[in-house]
Subunit: 144 residues, 4 copies
């Protein structure tokens, strides 16, 4: 397995620089592990994420999955902040309780134009996943 194109600190610094609305000290997002095309991130629990039924809202999980894919793309192709999602498909499997969410992302393909990955989301303390995502990112041309 190749080394990651960027490590966790480098990715955190890049995100803080280019996307300060989403990633800033105290935002509740943490990059926990970065290997090549294989990463783990965490979203700290906040009461605002709760939806009717006492569970965490779907958009909170979708945002975390998209963030996890963004980090995974950086780990494989380096600093490409203009990479954009073209497709995201999520299946909600179980209702997470009031706790942190952990997302593990793994790229299944790293092409010149597209990266395709899957993200599994866990609720801290539960063995079985709460959601599963597949997603495609489009990588901008870098040859000009």
């Amino acid at each position: 397995m190749p080394a990651p194109a960027m490590n966790a600190d480098q990715i955190a610094n890049l995100l803080h620089e280019v996307f300060p609305q989403a990633f800033y000290p105290g935002c509740g997002l943490m990059i926990e592990r970065v290997d090549y095309a294989d990463i783990r991130v965490r979203r700290h629990f906040q009461e605002g994420y709760i939806r009717p039924g006492g569970t965490i809202s779907g958009p909170t999980m979708m945002e975390l999955a998209d963030f996890a894919m963004y980090v995974a793309v950086f780990s494989a192709v380096g600093p490409q902040p203009l990479a954009v999602t073209t497709n995201l498909n999520i299946n909600f499997l179980r209702k997470p309780g009031k706790g942190d969410l952990i997302a593990e992302a793994r790229l299944m393909k790293v092409g010149k134009r597209l990266a395709v990955g899957e993200v599994t989301i866990f609720s801290e303390g539960l063995a079985e996943p709460v959601a599963h995502v597949t997603s495609t990112y489009s990588i901008p041309n870098t040859t000009n």
Copy 2:
């Protein structure tokens, strides 16, 4: 076409009551039109939605699509706040600029257990859609 099970004011009141973290005066979400299984909602633009490249972030559009589906489900089956998303698939088509997002949702199936719909998201002033979503909601049993 049957009359909607709830009108726009009734849905807004229900959402404010059961989901105040997401839907409150000044939250920027508006329910613009409610017919049976066919609705339109709007998200007012905020600078915080901008991501690298000067466009609105994917999660902002996913959250709006999920909200639109929730409103469409209410329009067809009435007050079921415990209805939950089981699947959402989004294709990002064009990059929206700095303006309101408008989502039109239409249910293609209203079954006893599942509702399936599609959502088309527009950027105000652009004729062509910026994103397209299909989604399935699970409707709780109401017979007990």
Copy 3:
């Protein structure tokens, strides 16, 4: 709306030439209408499509949806038989009975690298759709 890049006869001839295993006289597939990025195709019913429960099998509908997208791509970008599906998402809505299937495909985006469309599948004689598909095709580079 621009004229289609190829008409129904031209597309049928191309398919017969490059993909004779799937498209040949008596194969049961018909191209019924071709406008720009907006087409209709038909699959004649055969008993072999029936699955347990007396309904038409899912793969029969998936194959028809993929064929409809292929024809829609030709209608917009011309003879590109090496265009390939990168993603297909299908929701099965109702169980079709023993009759022809009709698929209407419409491209929502025709980009340089990707075309994104939706396909609605009907069972002849039923007003409501039996399946809904979104799909992305990758278009090969043609500049070399």
Copy 4:
């Protein structure tokens, strides 16, 4: 891990009985391994699967993925031939060459009403997958 609800021979016999158009001696489909909610199937190569570009057609892979999910559902919930696909999402990752296709399916959720799984498709002899699928099956009520 619980024992599978049916073993490979029992599933093959059931399929041959209820779905003889798709599963018969010489059809080219083989059930290679059945654990609880975790199975492997194979599709023997035939020249008829080739599409323009010399690769195996998308519908051939979609049909195999749907078959793999059907077998996985039987492995978890027993003989339920009326279980039907409600959603299938496929990402095509690499172009398979002229060889057998192998599909590994794993259920991520086995609920009372829905089973959700993922399928990874390999081309014999290639380490990296050629396609990845997530799919939902609806399980009929069995309590009456």
